[in-house]
Subunit: 278 residues, 3 copies
C-alpha cells in the first residue's frame, strides 16, 4: 500500500499538471447543475464541454481526456447517447466518471445504469444511498440495503463502505462516497477525507461538480484513486474555507468556486484525510 506522504505528492503533481495543461473533460450531465459543474471544472484548471447527442458524446469521448456521465435529468436521447459514449470510452480505455444520481427513479435510468456495468467506470461518485443502490443493481456482493429518496442520501458514508469497496474491485477503478466525511477507495485502500461545509448540502451541485472535477483530475492523475481523492480533498478544503467567509448558501456557492480556484496544490494534498487498508 502506498504511503500517505507519497499519495500527497501524487495529489500535488496532479493538481499542478491539470493547471498547466488545461485538459478538456467532456460531460453529459443534468440541466440543474450543468453550469456549476462547468465552472467548477474550469476553476480546477480544466476545460469543459457539454453535449446531449449520441455522436457528440462519442466525439467528446474521443477528443476529451476524460468524460463525466451524470444520470440526472435524463432526456429521451440519452437512451442512445449514454451507452454509445460509455462504450467508446471503454474501448479507448479513456477515464470516465459515473454519477448514478437519481438511481431508482424511472425505467430508463435503471436500464442505462444496468448497461453501464460492462463499461466499468473509472470512478464512481455518489452519496451513500446511491453507491449501495448501484452495487445492488449490479448484483455486486454487499450486505447493505439502499434507501433512496429523490436525489438526497438517507444513509451515512460508513454504511456504504463495503459496497464501495466491492464496486471498486469490480471496476478496477475508484469509488468516492460523499457525506459529512468522504470515503474514497480503490478496493485496496480506503481514504477518509475531512472538512467541507454543512452548506454543501444546502446548495445544488456539490456532488455533481465533484464528479466533474474528478474527471478533470482523472485526465492527469496516476490512478483513479488519486484522481478521486484529489477532487474530494479539493472540495473539502474549498468548502471549509468558503464556510468561514459566509453565513448563507447563496454566498457559499460563489465563495466555494472562488476557493476551488485559489486552493494551492500543496493545500489540497494536505487537507485532512486518513488512509487505511480496505
Amino acid at each position: 500500500m502506498i504511503s500517505k506522504a507519497e499519495l500527497q505528492q501524487r495529489i500535488v503533481q496532479t493538481v499542478r499538471d491539470v493547471r498547466e495543461t488545461n485538459p478538456m473533460a467532456g460531460s453529459i450531465t443534468n440541466t440543474v447543475t450543468v453550469n456549476f459543474v462547468a465552472n467548477a471544472q474550469i476553476a480546477a484548471g480544466g476545460s469543459a464541454a457539454m453535449v446531449y447527442l449520441p455522436d457528440e458524446g462519442e466525439f467528446l469521448a474521443n477528443a476529451g481526456w476524460a468524460t463525466y456521465l451524470n444520470m440526472g435529468t435524463l432526456l429521451p436521447v440519452y437512451e442512445e447517447t449514454i451507452p454509445r459514449t460509455a462504450q467508446t470510452l471503454h474501448e479507448l480505455r479513456r477515464p470516465w466518471v459515473l454519477d448514478p444520481v437519481g438511481i431508482g427513479i424511472g425505467s430508463l435510468r435503471t436500464r442505462l445504469l444496468a448497461q453501464l456495468k460492462e463499461y466499468k467506470p473509472t470512478i464512481i461518485r455518489g452519496n451513500a444511498s446511491e453507491v449501495i443502490a448501484l452495487a445492488s443493481l449490479w448484483e455486486i456482493a454487499t450486505e447493505a440495503t439502499a434507501y433512496v429518496r429523490g436525489v438526497d442520501s438517507t444513509q451515512g458514508v460508513g454504511e456504504a463502505r463495503s459496497a464501495a469497496i466491492a464496486l471498486a474491485r469490480y471496476t478496477g477503478g475508484a469509488v468516492a462516497v460523499s457525506g459529512v466525511d468522504d470515503l474514497v477507495t480503490d478496493g485496496v485502500m480506503v481514504a477518509r477525507s475531512h472538512g467541507g461545509s454543512h452548506f454543501m448540502a444546502k446548495i445544488t451541485g456539490s456532488g455533481c461538480s465533484l464528479g466533474g472535477v474528478a474527471a478533470v483530475y482523472a485526465t492527469m492523475a496516476p490512478s483513479p484513486f488519486t484522481a478521486a481523492l484529489t477532487a474530494v480533498n479539493a472540495f473539502n478544503l474549498a468548502g471549509t474555507r468558503a464556510e468561514k467567509r459566509v453565513d448563507a448558501p447563496g454566498s457559499f456557492q460563489v465563495a466555494f468556486l472562488d476557493e476551488l480556484y485559489k486552493a494551492s496544490a500543496e493545500d489540497i494534498a494536505r487537507n485532512s484525510f486518513d488512509l487505511e487498508e480496505a
Copy 2:
C-alpha cells in the same frame, strides 16, 4: 374568514414544519432558472428533484410531497410527461403548483395548459398577464383581456384580481399573482403582500422560484392559500432585505438566496400584508 393573526400563526407553523421535515418537492421546470428554483427550494428548507421523462414525473408525483410544473422551455417529451404527472397528482390528491409561464407561445403550451384544467392545480402562480390569459384559456368568467409579451407581464396585479378569484374558485385552491405587490387568493379571501425589490424584475427566476417554493410550503401548509401566502411573504421579505445589501442584480441574486435561507418563521409571517374578502 380567518383572522390575520391566525393566518400569521399558520405561516409560522408552515415555515417551521418545512425546516424540520425537509420535504421533497419534485419539479418539471424550465432550463433557464432550474438551478435557481432548486436552490430556492433548498434555502426554504425543502429538498429538490427535477425530471423530464413521463414515468419519472409520475414517480416524483408519488414520491414527492408536492410537485411544481412550470411551462417554460417545453421539450417534445413534455407532451406526455406533463399530463401524466398532473393526472397522477390529481388522482393522489397531492398538492401541485402550476406556473403557466409563456402562455400563448406555441401550440404545445396551449394544448398542455388546456389539458391541465381538469387536474385543478392546487396553486397557480403567474404574473397578471399570465393569470388573465389562463382564465381566458380555461373559459372561466373574467372581464379582463390578457396582453402577454414573451415571459414578462404587461399588466398590473389589480387587473388580474377577478381572474385570480375566478380561477381559485374553479380549482378550489389558491392563485398567486406576482407584481409590485403580490396578490394571493383562494376565492374567499384576498391577501396583498408588500415588499420585494425592483431587482426581482432584473433577474431571471424570481417568479419560477416562487412557484417552486410555494410547492415546498404546500407540503406542510394547512391550506393552499397559506402555502401560497407563506411563499409570497418569504419572497417579499427576502427581496426587501437583499435590496438593502446590494446595488445591482448579480449581487442581488446571491443576497436573495441568502435572505430566503436566513428569514425566521416569525419575520416571514410578519411581512407586511393586507387581508380582505374576495
Copy 3:
C-alpha cells in the same frame, strides 16, 4: 468610413434606447449558460425568452425584436427548430445573432451551420477558431485553417481577421471575434476593443452572453456593426471593472453582471477601441 466620435455617439444612443424600451430578444441557446445569457440580456436593459420547439422559435422570431441562436448543447428537436426560426428571421428581415459554438462537434451541428449560410445572420459571434471554421464550412475565401478543441479557441483573434471580414462581406452584417482583444467588423471597418478580464476565460458564458447581449443591442442599433461593437465594449468595460473588485471566478461572475447593469452609456462608448479600414 464613419468617424470614431460618430460611432461613439451611436453607441450611446443604442444603450439608451435599449434601456428605455426594454426590447425582447428571444433565444435558442445552450443549457450550460442559458441562465447567464438571460441575466446578461436583462442587465443590459433587454427582456429575455428562451425556447426549444419549432413553432415557438418561429413565434419568438416574429414577436422578438431580435433573436439569438447559439449552437451549444444541441437537442434532436433543433433539427427542425433552428432552420425554421432562421428562415423566419431572414424572411422578416429581423436581426439575429449566430454563435457557432462547438463547430466541428457532431453531424447535426455541421448540417445546421451549413444550412444557416443562406439565412445570413446579422451578427456572427465566436472565438477565433470558430470564426475561421465557419468561414471554411461556408467556403468563404480565407487562408486560415481552424483548429477547434471543444468549445475553447486555440487561435488568436488576429488569425481570424480575414475570415471575419470575408464572413461580414458575405452576410452584409457584422462579425465579432472574441479574444484577449475583441475584433468587430462589417467588412468595411475593423474595430479592436480592449479591456475585459482574464477571468472571462475562467467562467462559462462570457461568449454566449456576449452573443445574447449583441442581440439585445441589435434591436435598436442603427447597424449590425454598432450593435456588435456596443456589446463588445460593454463586456470589456464590465470585465475590466469587475476584475478590480474580485480575485476569483465565482465572485467575478457576480461582479460582471453587476457592472454590466451599472455601466453608463457614455462609459460603454468610451471603452478603449481602435478603428481602421478593413
